[in-house]
Amino acid sequence: MKPLKLLGLITVIITGFFLLYGVNDMPRWGDTNTPASVHVSPYYIQHSQADTDAPNFVSAVLADYRGFDTLFETTVIFCAGIACMMLLRKEEDA
């Protein structure tokens, strides 16, 4: 194995170890009482219909509560498109 690959492997193993270390204190998989399920999200589940008229919580959050994120999600696509166009375009003036 080349030294560079070995270095990569070591990095990967260290990173993985860190991630697993963190997993130790995580709530059990599928637990309904995790902080993630009791802190912010219940509001979305309970109020999205009243607030936004959308039965799909995901669309409600996507389009409304966190609509600002979605705006920039579009921007990301726009950026990627512009970047690809700029890179791949032939250098001639139409």
Binding site: V12, G16, N24, W29, T34, S41, I45, Q49
Partner: protein, 127 residues
């Protein structure tokens, strides 16, 4: 034993992430690096999705008759999967594809200039 079983899924995600991560930093082929990047990102998305998972809960769409208003208090939170991670991941997927697109455009340009997509060969040409 409980430690492994209850969090088994997390273990697999992390192993998957590390597979992608390894490909990103150790593979010499540029396309392989991008494939690794995709795997890495998808594994993160999987991780997020499982944050939202609840045992015995259903998909995050309100079960109600059409246009029937349900008072907020009567909606049982534990019945629905946490929608927030899903929202975040929709963004993340799009971001991931965008980065892949730009990276592949770069690879095409690199191939045009250096006629190879192997990193070591390119570096040899550059030096």
């Amino acid at each position: 034993m409980d430690f492994i079983v209850s969090k088994f899924n997390y273990w697999i995600y992390i192993i998957m992430m590390m597979i992608g991560f390894y490909a990103m930093i150790a593979k010499r082929n540029l396309v392989k690096k991008i494939i690794g990047m995709n795997i890495f990102q998808t594994a993160i998305i999987l991780f997020y999705v499982s944050i939202g998972a609840k045992k015995g809960a259903t998909i995050p769409i309100l079960e109600a008759a059409h246009h029937a208003k349900i008072p907020p208090e009567s909606i049982e939170v534990a019945k629905y999967i946490n929608p927030l991670p899903h929202v975040l991941m929709l963004t993340a997927i799009v971001v991931g594809v965008s980065v892949t697109g730009v990276a592949l455009a770069l690879i095409i340009l690199i191939y045009r200039r250096y006629h190879t997509v192997e990193e070591d060969e390119i570096l040899r040409q550059l030096s």
